[in-house]
């Protein structure tokens, strides 16, 4: 499924995050890049250099918006002023889909500016799905929700994280931004098999994937995005790509950012797995055509 309704039936390929240290390189050298992911919040302003740079980028590149503050899982109601700003930005960027995290981060109007993990309960899933539908209806754009890295588990949880993710996206009828690095990080912190996670999410809803680097400490792993993905993350990505099909993929690199060329070269490693998935998809299509039937594929 190279394109689905959760990424507006696009086939975007491999992107990288638009980051300030790379502005000059991108604007002067105009490198070939499939697409850039922007952090929406950096551009929810009224003017100045952020929007001036964005407009120049938009003249030459495709841009997808990724957010960090919608907090679908917060019990608080959505911030209408924020949504109005976001809608203006959506019109400006013409992003085919918009992503944000399956988490909470504000309560009683106070903001943590962090991606805090959800209690995995049916009630929380219902509330979260309602907010996703509300935001999607307001913005009039498909939404993909991203699984976050987490460092704690809660007594109140009633299911696994991947069951919670599935429950939310089915109720909201939205897409998934599958972050395989986050799955890996959480699996190490909580002691589950990351392949169980990848195998058991609804693959037809995956509209985008993230890959990234993390940092290992003595007792836990932190999602730091400060270096390249490690091999086990690439392997998990390859597995996810086999299951989900060719999917728009983005490398996140947010700290100790190296040169543009280094980040882009690292991101392009994913093309190897995407090409494999594309070939497998082609073989499946040919086989189905020869057989004259199109049987539904199993999740794993």
């Amino acid at each position: 499924m190279p394109a689905n309704r959760f990424n507006a039936h696009t086939d975007y390929g491999v992107g990288i995050g638009l980051r300030i240290p790379h502005y000059d390189h991108i604007l002067s050298k105009k490198p070939t890049v499939d697409w850039f992911e922007i952090i929406s919040e950096n551009y929810l302003v009224d003017g100045g250099r952020p929007l001036a740079v964005l407009d120049r980028i938009l003249e030459q590149y495709r841009v997808v918006q990724h957010g960090v503050s919608l907090y679908f899982g917060s019990a608080d109601k959505p911030d209408r002023a924020q949504l109005r700003r976001l809608k203006n930005l959506v019109k400006r960027t013409r992003t085919p889909w918009l992503s944000d995290h399956l988490c909470w981060g504000s309560i009683d109007g106070s903001y943590s500016h962090d991606l805090l993990p959800m209690p995995y309960t049916f009630s929380a899933a219902k509330r979260t799905a309602e907010k996703i539908r509300h935001v999607s209806d307001f913005l009039e754009i498909p939404i993909c929700v991203e699984n976050v890295s987490s460092y704690t588990e809660f007594h109140v949880s009633e299911m696994t994280e991947w069951e919670f993710l599935s429950e939310v996206v089915e109720r909201a009828d939205c897409g998934i931004l599958l972050d395989v690095n986050n799955i890996y990080v959480s699996s190490r912190n909580h002691g589950f098999n990351p392949y169980d996670y990848v195998d058991n999410v609804p693959h037809h809803r995956v509209g985008q994937m993230h890959i990234a680097g993390h940092t290992k400490f003595e007792k836990y792993i932190l999602d730091t995005h400060d270096h390249a993905p490690i091999d086990p993350v690439w392997k998990l990505y390859a597995h996810a790509t086999k299951l989900c099909g060719v999917t728009a993929t983005l490398l996140e690199w947010d700290d100790k950012i190296p040169s543009f060329d280094e980040v882009h070269a690292e991101a392009l490693k994913s093309t190897e797995y995407i090409d494999d998935a594309r070939a497998a998809q082609k073989r499946r299509t040919q086989r189905d055509f020869v057989g004259g039937v199109s049987s539904p594929r199993r999740a794993s």
Binding site: S112, H113, V156
Partner: protein, 319 residues
């Protein structure tokens, strides 16, 4: 008979800190309030969550109501990761936005000020950009955190917030000379660009900030390994003395994406402030120019010069 108080999870002094289940939106809010209360309490000097809660109970017992332990970390330690991430993120953000305050107070006192500020005024915006928006107010309300430099720090907080506002506020189409043709000064209202900030300060913090920024640039140069081997030796950055008191009217503005500061005569400041408040041009001039202090022709030339510069800088915009 006295009625039992209704318990609200997350509030101290009650036995129940966090709900035992999340089966409704109210319980979800209670759960999130409890966790937020725990992780947003300031860290100890060694960057740990405090071992005791405000009522004397072990914080670990409260954390255990929320988080599961695992084979490597206790409930307390797992939540402490989030507490650290929260405090490091918001303190880093204020650190970057407030170089002048840091220079006056030093990093340890600045950090204490920032923690106290965020406890009283936690972020109310989805964007970290707005984090320093109430810092000047806090310094005025609680001068003990900045004594004996409270007035200077208040001005610095105003100035540093103005820089944030100027950086990304809207720029509207500029008002041109053609727009002035045939206009009656008694009725003409000139609108100022949203990105223009006017400050009437008690200290010359504009010069101070420039000195601080130059010092930081110098420090960065010396800390960098890049291509400095053959560079001429630079002087060690010196600590900058806080400025002496002196009324300073300044415009913080933007030109081609960069932030600039421009000193204003008090009379010019009054004229611009009056225009910003919606006065007509004639009313603004009357508000700014003192009567009969100087020959009228001196003021005419001066005012013409002000307006020529302001027009060139694009400070006036169309409604």
């Amino acid at each position: 008979m006295a009625r039992a108080k209704k318990t609200k999870p997350g509030r101290i002094g009650r036995k129940v800190f966090a709900p035992a289940q999340v089966k409704s939106t109210r319980e979800l809010a209670d759960f999130q309030r409890a966790m937020w209360t725990l992780i947003s309490r300031p860290l100890t000097p060694a960057n740990h969550m405090p071992r005791r809660w405000k009522d004397g109970r072990p914080t670990a017992a409260l954390a255990a109501q929320i988080a599961k332990p695992n084979d490597r970390l206790t409930s307390f330690e797992r939540l402490e990761i989030y507490s650290r991430m929260y405090w490091f993120r918001v303190l880093d953000s204020l650190y970057d936005d407030c170089p002048g305050l840091r220079a006056v107070l030093g990093v340890p006192r600045f950090t204490k000020l920032a923690e106290a500020y965020l406890v009283k005024y936690p972020s109310r915006s989805f964007s970290l950009r707005n984090l320093p928006s109430r810092l000047a107010r806090f310094i005025r309300e609680e001068p003990r955190w900045t004594a004996p430099h409270a007035a200077l720090c208040h001005d610095l907080a105003l100035f540093e917030w103005a820089r944030v506002e100027v950086f990304d506020s809207a720029a509207l189409p500029v008002f041109t000379l053609d727009d002035l043709l045939g206009a009656d000064p008694a009725k003409l209202k000139l609108m100022l660009q949203p990105y223009l900030q006017l400050l009437d300060l008690r200290y010359p913090v504009d010069d101070f900030i420039l000195a601080v920024k130059q010092r930081e640039e110098l420090s960065r140069g010396e800390a960098s390994n890049t291509s400095l081997a053959s560079a001429p030796a630079k002087k060690t950055p010196k600590k900058i003395r806080p400025p002496a008191r002196g009324r300073t009217c300044v415009a913080v503005h933007r030109l081609e994406g960069r932030i600039y500061f421009k000193r204003l005569e008090p009379a010019a400041f009054q004229v611009l402030s009056a225009l910003r408040s919606g006065k007509t041009l004639a009313q603004a001039l009357a508000a700014g120019i003192p009567r009969a202090r100087r020959p009228r022709e001196d003021w005419a030339a001066k005012v013409q010069a002000w307006f020529r510069v302001w027009m060139e800088l694009g400070w006036f915009c169309q409604r």
